[in-house]
């Protein structure tokens, strides 16, 4: 016990004397939490639309003004021919071309049907996909309006199904509400993962680990002496992030804080075990940094922060499930937005417990006092 206390004393002194490390631990994540949610907005707005109007009729005018007033589109130009519009796309001035053929109005009135042509620049897939979808909705809407005008007492016919949707737990579809808890998890993960990965390797590089290895310090004491300080730092970082979320973004967890911290406590043990494991396999800090970076990259992309895990192919879902971050992001969103209870997050907690046991057990096993 005394040995552990001495190890902790030493570790905390070293951390707090490291003038380069402190800002990385405490300032950097908070800066990111202030900036990233503002940018990580999945709402697609400001889609640049080039209109090729070969008809120049009242209807086309009405249609275009309806599109422009939707708030999603920004009409960058009106053309009478396709070529200049296409050039706009090539120069990345426009994202979507809406082509209205000649005789649009005449066709619509006489033949009772008309066609428009939508071409999207699919280099930015999200913008193209969502843009076309928005455009379709607006056109369908417009279509209905015209029909209502012409057929005020609509003939009984096959009715259209109207879908009204409401967004539970996040009624205004506020992306910050959705992103901030996830980003906070990522930041805690990055800080914890990296400092743990670099720490033991640093002692290897300097040579102090050899000195420790010839002392009677036990393996578990040494590993715990490394785990506990970073665990405390993770807790502090998370708390700072929660405060920031509350006062800057107005996000107050609906669920129990105790549950959140309980989960965090287990999660941090798993995460730090991962860092220490890398540490025991690497010979120098550069190596550890690259390996940690590789995995944290996977953690970020597979965790379901940016892409919903449910949309992933089966093999990717397996990777996502084997990523500790996934479950914590899940739980964060559930507890913060939905107010989920212990019973709802049991599975995730089991996963984290398993990660914690395996990763730390492996790290302790792989750290050898006698080679």
């Amino acid at each position: 016990m005394r040995t552990l206390r001495l190890l902790l004393e030493k570790e905390f002194r070293q951390i707090f004397r490291d003038k380069g490390l402190l800002p990385i631990i405490f300032v950097m994540p908070m800066m990111q939490l202030l900036i990233m949610p503002l940018a990580a907005n999945f709402d697609v707005k400001n889609i640049n639309l080039a209109v090729v109007d070969r008809d120049h009729s009242t209807y086309t005018q009405q249609m275009i003004s309806k599109i422009a007033s939707s708030g999603y589109f920004h009409v960058t130009g009106y053309y009478t021919d396709y070529t200049p519009a296409q050039q706009q796309i090539e120069r990345e001035k426009a994202d979507i071309i809406l082509e209205i053929p000649a005789h649009f109005e005449v066709d619509l009135v006489k033949e009772n049907k008309a066609a428009v042509y939508v071409a999207a620049d699919a280099i930015n897939g999200t913008k193209a996909g969502l843009g076309s979808a928005y455009l379709n909705t607006i056109l369908a809407d417009f279509n209905n309006e015209i029909r209502m005008k012409w057929l005020p007492e609509a003939a009984p016919g096959p009715g259209t199904i109207e879908v009204t949707s409401s967004n539970w737990f996040n009624p205004n579809m506020n992306y910050r509400l959705y992103m901030v808890p996830g980003i906070l998890v990522l930041l805690v993960t990055m800080v914890g993962g990296f400092i743990a990965a670099l720490n033991i390797v640093k002692e290897k590089e300097i040579g102090t680990i050899e000195q420790i290895n010839v002392t009677p310090v036990k393996k578990w004491q040494f590993i715990l002496g490394k785990l506990i300080p970073f665990w405390v730092i993770g807790m502090v970082d998370f708390s700072l992030g929660l405060l920031l979320a509350r006062f800057v973004y107005g996000i107050i967890p609906l669920g129990s804080l105790l549950l959140l911290y309980g989960f965090l406590a287990v999660y941090l043990v798993a995460l730090l075990g991962f860092g220490l494991l890398i540490s025991t396999y690497s010979d120098n800090q550069l190596q550890a940094m690259f390996v940690a970076f590789f995995f944290i990259m996977i953690f970020m992309l597979m965790s379901g922060l940016f892409v919903s895990v449910d949309n992933m192919p089966e093999w990717a879902k397996i990777i996502a499930k084997l990523t500790p971050v996934t479950h914590f992001i899940d739980v964060m969103r559930m507890v913060v937005l939905k107010g989920s209870r212990f019973a709802d997050i049991k599975m995730q907690l089991l996963y984290e417990l398993a990660f914690a046991l395996v990763l730390n057990g492996w790290a302790i096993w792989n750290y050898r006092k006698t080679a």
Partner: protein, 247 residues
């Protein structure tokens, strides 16, 4: 328990086909200053690491402080001090904090730490520097401090791996005064060095060539045996026969 500090019989460390340490046998008496010489790459550090319980021997037998190097490494570790080639105190801790940490890890109580610490700092004349970060001390001071910390728990044996590398002659002299002090307190000193003048200070020395021990005796006897006037000549005579290139 036997009262030899170190016994070693056919101790061997093999890496594949390469015999880093090739069947070495020797004994070291309690309280002796034992010089462990050899060219770079002769296998000194490997042999020392096995004796300290940092590395498993491939074959042979050895005991350190009466404990088996195969099975009782943790017992050995309680009874030895070790100072490696690399400086191994924590540079971002002060002199006092390093003493407290390493002494405490060996089980010294707070009271003992205070007494030993005061004593040590006074002996090294570092009262002014006690609260300074170790990283800011000159190399010679660091080495003296590292040695004093390595024996703060009064181990039976202290292993020193090239402790005076890169240290100026005056400080080296002071360093050897510390070694003599330790030996007088009954601590066995097992030291590797490349300085032949330091070899003369040892009670007995062994010279390793290509993983084997080619000579082992008191410095005076060795000089006589090789018909040499200094340890330098003895060392040259032996090291020249080495087939292994350095490093």
């Amino acid at each position: 328990m036997n009262n030899k500090a170190i016994t070693c019989k056919d101790l061997t460390k093999r890496f594949g086909d390469f015999f880093a340490v090739n069947h070495i046998s020797f004994e070291v008496e309690q309280g002796e200053i034992f010089g462990f010489l050899g060219a770079n790459g002769a296998g000194k550090t490997t042999a020392m690491r096995m004796l300290c319980g940092l590395s498993y021997p491939s074959s042979g037998e050895a005991t350190v402080a009466g404990f088996n190097v195969f099975k009782q490494q943790e017992e050995i570790k309680k009874n030895i001090g070790y100072m490696s080639q690399k400086f191994s105190l924590y540079e971002s801790l002060t002199v006092r904090e390093n003493i407290r940490f390493y002494g405490g890890v060996y089980g010294l109580s707070d009271k003992q730490l205070k007494e030993k610490g005061d004593e040590l700092i006074e002996k090294l004349g570092m009262q002014q520097e006690a609260k300074m970060m170790v990283g800011s001390l000159p190399l010679g001071w660091k080495q003296k401090l590292a040695f004093s910390v390595a024996i703060i728990h009064q181990p039976r044996i202290v292993f020193l791996d090239e402790p005076t590398g890169g240290v100026d002659p005056v400080t080296r002299r002071q360093f050897w005064d510390l070694i003599y002090d330790a030996a007088e307190q009954g601590i066995t000193v097992f030291v590797t060095t490349h300085y032949m003048d330091e070899a003369e200070y040892c009670n007995r020395i062994s010279i390793m060539v290509d993983g084997r021990i080619d000579a082992l005796d008191t410095p005076a006897n060795l000089r006589q045996q090789f018909g040499a006037t200094s340890m330098n000549e003895v060392f040259y005579a032996l090291a020249r026969s080495a087939k292994r290139s350095a490093d």
